[in-house]
Amino acid sequence: MRAKIRGFLYRHRGLEGILYVLPFAALWGIFLAWPVGYGIYLSLFEWSPMQGSRFVGLENYIKLFGDARFLNALGNTFKFAAIAVPLILGLGLLFALMLWSWGRTRRGVGFIQAVLFFPYLLTVSTVAITWKWMFDPDFGLVTHAFKALKIAAPVFLTEPAWALPAIAFATAWWLAGYRMVVFQAGLGEIPQELFEVASIDGAVFHQKFLHIILPLLKPALLFSLVLTLISAFRTFGQALMMTEGGPGRSTEVLALYLYRTAFEYFNIGKAAASGVVLLVIMLVLTLIGVKLLGLKSELG
């Protein structure tokens, strides 16, 4: 029997390759690819539990872009990304550079790296709880710190202008350490000789940074930029748990809008349409990424 199977597979080698892919392809097709297509399909229907669904074409999209609440969520998402992404990448790069120039052999490097990295392993709920408590307007540590410095502390999470930046800061605390590790790996790949030659030529630190580190770190930086942007556009848990989208709707981001439209108001068509808008944003970002990075070369 075994010999028979082997013989059959040998004669149909193409089939064998497909057999190996099958479990993955089936799971991927059913639970990842198909729902995306079905989501786009749903966005063209008006869904109601009583009358069933009715094809409405692009009406959901037209409604969506006339909906102040959706436009507000879209704006908040862009605003959040504009604050959070530079913070995450900037802090990550800063930490990586500091640890790198501070010396890899010094005692305590491993400890500092561990401390800066650790928040990444926390769940988004823990991060949100931590910073909600830090920012508490009466008893939070941040509030106490502002008082100690004799500066009037803004009521971060309940003031519309401050709530989104506060969430972005919490997100940076959460994710910067991960970027630091990625950048450290990139820095480690740069040949030491380059710096020695530069030193002999009399280069100072900012020259080395501009002419050696930045160009050689560019792939890692761009890769991180695209991935961090995408994760910023998908932000959900922090906004839900730190402010519930408030005060007012000043921190209601796109994913939170989608969640509420679908699972609190059961406006399925509209929620699916907002999902497609998010999808289009991702697609554009991904394509820019592919273009910038030449990801095509990865396909060999």
Binding site: I18, V21, F31, L32, A185, F236, G275
Partner: protein
């Protein structure tokens, strides 16, 4: 450097401290840096009023189930993409890659309906299934398999190995670093997954830790002692694993970030 590290760790330390502070100390102005006495009252209340142990178990089951199945199906597929010839191979790989960065947000609504009709809503399987076949897994493993010298495979083939033999005797034994890196990645991803779990898991007995924390927070808005003790307990497993595997985890990220390897 130590100053920054201190600044970075303060929030976590403060949460841990709040978890064991008696209530008057939590709500005192000026703040009490060191609690007047340590209390386990919040912890006791946590375990008395919420099925916290159950959540821990759910999280563990979910993450283990997803990690194991994902490693298996991704290894098989990556092997086929890297080493076997069949029509349509590169086209399918390209399509999977394009989906790599697409957001789950657009698919949660269809997934919700699907899981509902499969009767998998509010079960651990419903939560697990969409997380198993991640394109990133196949991508990482394939990259690694491509770099294993072809000569090894040829030698094995000459010695009479079938494709299965090549996979189990040549590829898998030489790929421990990438299995470790991807395994840790997906375990952490599943352990912390929030969006889909929140939608799929509805009853307090079924939810995982991240969603459980949300339930507590939704129930008592200002009970900081209780909520910080829950956050502290939920982070403890990650902390312990991190302390043991620190070097491996950090090296794994360097490997899976696409910069090295």
């Amino acid at each position: 450097m130590f100053g920054i590290a201190l600044l970075w760790i303060i929030p976590s330390l403060w949460v841990a401290e709040t978890a064991f502070k008696p209530n008057p100390d939590i709500f005192s102005i000026p703040p009490k840096w060191l609690p007047s006495r340590l209390t386990t009252a919040h912890l006791g209340k946590l375990f008395a009023s919420w099925p916290f142990g159950r959540w821990l178990l759910n999280s563990l089951i979910l993450a283990t189930l997803v990690t194991a199945s994902s490693l298996i199906v991704s290894t098989l597929a990556a092997f086929s993409f890297a080493r076997l010839q069949w029509p349509g191979r590169d086209a399918l790989f390209l399509v999977i890659l394009v989906f790599m960065l697409l957001p789950m947000e657009v698919s949660v609504i269809p997934l919700y309906f699907m899981m509902n009709s499969f009767r998998l809503l509010n079960t651990i399987y419903g939560a697990a299934l969409p997380m198993i076949a991640l394109p990133i897994g196949v991508f990482l493993l394939r990259q690694f398999f491509l770099n294993i010298p072809r000569d090894l495979e040829d030698a094995a083939r000459i010695d009479g190995c079938s494709s299965w033999g090549v996979l189990t005797r040549v590829i898998i034994p030489n790929s421990t670093p990438v299995f470790a890196a991807y395994g840790m990645y997906i375990f952490n991803y599943t352990w912390n997954e929030f969006f889909w779990s929140l939608i799929c898991l509805r009853s307090a007995q079924k939810v995982t830790l991240p969603v459980g924390l949300r339930l507590i927070q939704g129930a008592f808005e200002i009970n900081y002692g209780l909520i910080t003790s829950a956050a502290f307990m939920a982070s403890l497993p990650s902390l312990v694993v991190f302390l043991i595997l620190r070097q491996r985890i950090i090296r794994g990220i360097a490997l899976s970030s696409g910069i090295k390897g």
